[in-house]
Symmetry: C2
């Protein structure tokens, strides 16, 4: 028997947060989904998320839910939209505040707490619960815009990476192809990368320069205002 303990003079919608988690495996952009264990949409895939608590901001709620459902802790989530179609949840009126985050795939420990968390290639996502298809499309658009203003993407790679890995990442996110030399020139000209001349690597029998992202340079540039032209 349900106790309805909370009373209001006017009707209030329920409020949830959802997190679109992007990852990168060196080839394609991935998104982390969770199989729903309860109705509605039981068995369908959805983003990690849940109801907002009354004493936390939406960002805190998104991070809390993310941790509870995937074991991930990140202090870098981007709000990209709030979805409020009156019929988007069959149970009651629910609006959801949506965030996306970028994480290294290696940081997700498959067998974590809750759930059937699984990575899907961005071009091979199954039908999702609720309006999460719309949310995913919107998240991708936001990510593609954001990447013009911020060097996001480095959260998706290991700390040290090759120029080709970085290029593949940009190509996967923006769904375009770049010329190798032009891409490298442009990237290096920005001055955001530290190159490790000496340290090379043998990925599959090849040698390649390693780079890392230089956050100090980034802070400098950000103050001046800058753009990544891709």
């Amino acid at each position: 028997m349900e106790e309805l303990k909370y009373h209001y003079k006017y009707p209030h919608p329920a409020v949830t947060t959802d997190c679109v988690i992007f990852g990168f495996d060196g080839v394609g952009l991935k998104v982390l989904l969770i199989e729903r264990g309860i109705e509605p949409f039981r068995g369908r895939w959805a983003f990690p998320g849940g109801f907002l608590k009354m004493d936390e901001s939406a960002e805190e709620g998104a991070q809390r839910e993310l941790f509870e459902e995937t074991g991930l802790k990140t202090n870098c989530v981007w709000q990209f939209g709030t979805f409020s179609n009156p019929n988007r949840d069959p149970r009651e009126r629910v609006i959801t505040i949506a965030y996306y985050a970028l994480v290294r795939i290696s940081e997700v420990h498959g067998g974590d707490d809750a759930a059937q968390a699984q990575w899907f290639d961005i071009n091979d996502v199954p039908a999702l619960a609720f309006d999460h298809d719309l949310i995913l499309r919107t998240a991708l658009q936001a990510l593609r815009k954001q990447i013009h203003f911020e060097p996001i993407g480095f959260e998706l790679l290991e700390q040290h990476f090759t120029m080709t890995q970085l290029q593949h990442l940009y190509e996967a996110v923006l769904d375009v192809k770049f010329d190798r030399r032009n891409f490298a020139n442009k990237m290096l000209r920005l001055g955001l990368l530290t190159q490790y001349d000496e340290a090379k690597q043998l990925p599959n029998g090849k040698e390649a320069f390693l780079y890392s992202f230089n956050p100090n340079k980034y802070k400098e540039l950000k103050q001046k205002g800058f753009r990544l032209e891709f």
Copy 2:
């Protein structure tokens, strides 16, 4: 005596929408504020907005509130953020979904329905109610980003305008100065403007070419993907 007719098992926040209305008077960017007639923050200035109804989406709610409080009808509002600090409203937990819109100042009929609506220069805004200072800053950032991707701004000018008016608009929004000739070249090269050679105008005793925005060209370009580089 208050009747608390709506009951829930879990606590629900109240949800409002707010609209940041931008206008342009030929010199500076303006924002439309309303003086609050009731507590809390009685007498302080705030954005038009109010509680979301249960059968309308947030966008519909924002447009409805906007109309009720200013008489404005616009089908072009941009959601730019949701504000959810638990203490942002002293009465109860309220989260607000925030939109901005661009309107011609001439379309606001001062003496409308509700209220003390008044235009303020963006650089001369009084202390606002709630967290509306934060909301305004965020709206401005969103507008400045958006203007790189979409030819927004034409909603702020009369249908026919001079190149100088357009330049002043961009300068006001982005808070920078451009060279007249370079600005005109860049704008014309985009191909979004229709020039009216014959029709000239006498703004203050001067003659100047008039232009209008060409929505068809815009649709073409949008499909190809394009950027306004400023």
